[in-house]
Amino acid sequence: MAQRDVKQRIDSVKNIRKITSAMQMVAAARLRRAELRIAALRPYAGAIRRMTRQAAAAAGGEIASMPILQQHEQENVVAVLLVTGDRGLAGAFNSQIIRAGLRAAAEYEAEGKTVRFYASGRRGVSSLVFRNLDPAGRYIGFTDRPSYADARDIAQDLVQAYVDGEVDRVEVFYNGYVSALTQEVRREVLLPLQRATIDEAIAEAEAEDGPETGHHALVEYEPDPDVILERLVPDYVEISIYRALLESTASEHGARMTAMRSASENAAEVIEDLTLEMNRARQAEITQEIMEVVAGAESLT
């Protein structure tokens, strides 16, 4: 390759490195913000647990009759919610969710069940559309910064489909956030909501607050505790989805940061190789010129 071509390639790789390292820094800043939002959910979720405990103790009875806690007699239609991102350039972040969801769907179909897809994130929606798997719910435009209202929309679509008997089971696939470097595909059953989820929440609230003291006997309830409980229980579905969206966002930024870091490192390597090549080409050219000069001088004598 001529010196000039190599020089041009070095310049273009340097430009690419500038972009990838800028993207890496942006991802790092967004990751920090996403981590803060996961932390901000904790006190709310804790308060919901404490109120559940209080309302459940006051209601004193069965909550198992709620439709979202009841398993359907037959499991014919399974809803699969894929939580992906609006954008790519994040390594395996999107593809591993789509792959896991499709694999699970194939297993359900092999059992003779119907699968109904829901997807959040442009990447998930477009891969489903590309495969002719028309998603029943499409949620896009917020994966950089999901709000609770986004989670509520998704949750209410799924709860409605479950309670009205359109689907018999709901599963979610998302990238769980372990650390900036590690994200893992998580698969969770959202509906039917497990009675154990509520019992665990109550137990957790008890562990935080200590045992029941009995002073709740004097508490006023507006409306009755069983009515309050009936709204508290579906909140667990919303919170689960919101947490999945937040973790997915943190994972996306983490994955993008890692992907862009290795892209920048690769660029540095390429620049080094090309610089070597350019020096070699220059050396060859100089040698060539000296040879010509020497040959010319020799022919004169």
Partner: protein, 140 residues
Amino acid sequence: MARTTFQVEVLTPEGAIFDEQVEMLSTRTEVGSLGILANHTPLLGMLAPTELRLYRSETDIVRFAQGEGYIQVGENRALVLVEDAVRPEDLDVDALREKLKTAEAELAAAAPGTEAQRRAQRDKRRCEAFLEVAGVDTGH
């Protein structure tokens, strides 16, 4: 003379948005309007969408458009737990009108007694309450 104050924390899934001493808190439960002063008896309430008012004093009032949620009062503190709480000036009236229209259409299309109907009703109620907080007359 200033009234006795008590601590109020307003907590959303996106974090605490208010944590101060106030003289009075006014909101709405599913049963009806509710005003809380210092030393209120312990209470657990389920909140309906409305305007949440926090009176730092008689004239200094902090307002939020509040979505569905819960209130817990005890030991001279109040915890307001809401899905959304928006400052009235941050409400997007056009977007709310759009959402209200969607909810009304869904309500008309939903079969009676279904979850779809209940959901559309809740959406409609929230949009109407928020529009009212924003100062728009919704005909109620």
